[in-house]
Symmetry: C2
């Protein structure tokens, strides 16, 4: 074990960036006061931060998966604009007794996910800058940059009544994984089925490739805070209503039933240490496994599925499933019944 405190900052940085690609659009990479790159068209930029004890705990921590997740949640935002990733800036704070191999694993996860996006979207996604500092808590703050041709960004505001609503990737799996973790299950003790849900929580895998196959989307959003909340954002930005069809959600809900049974069982036994989020609803009348699985699908973010609206006359591409339709109105409903926007929020309501 070699602690960071035994190494110099520049030595650490050169070690973790060994694998950093150098595509032609990077003119000056990490090492000067700032990077210089050559974006083509419009610039798309987004930033997101993961903080220990808020977004993950030391108890579940896997450094490589943390790197994958940090990259994925930012790349998903760039890609949900219809953009091509251009580069990442990575600011990391860790305790200075952290083992260098843990930091290498974290960067390895960042590169893995950047390469996965690059392969799907035929581009190369380098780390072009960042910051390394010490802190008692682990913090990883990423800015992802992308480019899009003039006037071709896909915003939240373009959905029109009559459009169909499509989803690429999944929703609810990461929320199920989180509740399994709260119920005390861990990657190494879970069977393959439940473990894969925990893995989605620890390192979601957005379906970047699907973004190449959908024709022209009128609106798109990275579902990071849950369908109910994120679709409410699309509805508000577009001035429309959105109706989800319950029957079209079966393929998302049904695979979560074993996890829902596990979580309800463990809650019934009172072994759940920390019950957050959807667990609140356990205080109401008896909740069935289907209720819980549906609540994960409606309110669980962090799979980073992509929801897009497009003309129903257009064939959805590979990776997209229809889950509802855009209608007049201003709310989100399920088979016509209003769905409260109760996805994740850091503060208050």
């Amino acid at each position: 074990m070699t602690r960071l405190s035994e190494l110099g900052e520049s030595h650490i940085i050169s070690r973790v960036l060994t694998r950093n690609p150098e595509p032609a659009h990077v003119i000056v990479g990490p090492g000067d006061d700032a990077a210089v790159t050559a974006p083509e068209g419009r610039l798309v930029s987004t930033a997101d931060m993961l903080v220990e004890n808020e977004d993950f705990t030391r108890d579940w921590l896997d450094w490589e998966l943390l790197g994958r997740k940090a990259a994925a949640q930012n790349l998903a935002d760039v890609c949900a604009m219809g953009a091509t990733p251009h580069g990442l800036l990575v600011s990391l704070a860790v305790p200075n007794d952290t083992d260098i191999t843990d930091i290498e694993a974290l960067y390895s996860g960042l590169f893995e996910e950047a390469e996965r996006a690059g392969t799907a979207l035929e581009c190369t996604v380098p780390i072009i800058g960042g910051d390394l500092s010490s802190s008692k808590l682990i913090v990883i703050a990423i800015t992802a940059l992308g480019t899009v041709q003039e006037d071709s960004a896909t915003l939240r505001s373009g959905a029109r009544p009559g459009d169909s609503l499509y989803l690429a990737g999944t929703v609810g799996r990461a929320a199920a994984g989180l509740d399994l973790l709260f119920a005390g299950l861990r990657r190494d003790t879970a069977g393959p089925e439940l473990r894969s849900l925990i893995d989605t929580q620890l390192a979601p895998q957005p379906d970047y490739g699907a973004l190449r196959t959908l024709g022209t989307a009128s609106a798109m959003i990275d579902v990071s805070d849950g369908l109910s909340l994120d679709l409410a954002r699309v509805a508000a930005a577009s001035g429309v209503g959105i109706d989800l069809e319950r029957a079209l959600l079966d393929d998302l809900v049904d695979p979560l039933l074993p996890a829902a049974e596990y979580v309800l069982d463990s809650r019934a036994k009172g072994v759940s240490g920390d019950a957050e989020g959807v667990a609140d609803s356990a205080n109401g009348p008896v909740m069935t496994a289907e209720d819980l699985a549906l609540s994960w699908v409606l309110d669980g973010g962090e799979d980073h599925g992509f929801a897009a609206s497009a003309s129903p006359r257009q064939d959805p591409g590979v990776g997209w499933r229809r889950i509802g339709e855009i209608r007049t109105g201003h709310d989100v409903s399920l088979d016509g019944t209003p769905v409260p926007a109760s996805g994740f929020s850091h503060f208050g309501k």
Copy 2:
């Protein structure tokens, strides 16, 4: 007092961004998955993070000054490339019992500094994105973007023997302020002279305007970690040696003598609670006030002065002072005597 936990995330964001400017280059501002902007020329990007208990303590905390500092340290990096600021992405984590007015003060500091840079460089610097989350520790991670015309970025690698070395702004004042804080002095108890040094530590004011007056710099760096360390970076990148002239540093050293006397006095009385950084040298033979003041000037970063090399035939513009020269070799010296690179580093040596 209204705690963040009583407010919704989107309400908080709209409140703190009330003052956000909307220059023409912002096509889609905060509120979608990512921002869309129109950069002209090459993109310059840099990221830096401030973490509670590492970069500041709750005991000295002034939210507005923290915002100014976070903006300044990132804008200085963009400007040290010769770039025009384009926008900031601000990721913030704070305890959820934080008063909304404190967060408003922090953003007010961000806007103040962005406006100061914008006025000096005739541009408008909006916040184009970011993230707000809860955390026990305060963390503020910023990415600053800028633009520069093709091939016109000023790198660290262009210094040539025979060039003069110039400084805009100051060095050593923030380090003096930090040692005053460690010695127990606070803004509200300090006289105006020492208080202004503490203010430089809490909210440095880079001289952005000077960047408009220097003709053609062959190399430039934002002095954030101390002249000795940052000039060693220029020396290494350019393959040159750099000699500082002691007599040319008088204007930087002399104003720090009262602070040096205060700090040495308080150390002699043993009242210094926390002695870090330059305090190590206090364990050696007797240190004079001039020794300490000079060590602040040589090893103290965080004023965010700009050091630039340029032809000596060229008149330095307003705001620039000559402090040395570029020579052959590969190290940094003071009147010919090597200066060890002992500026700030988060890890190890």
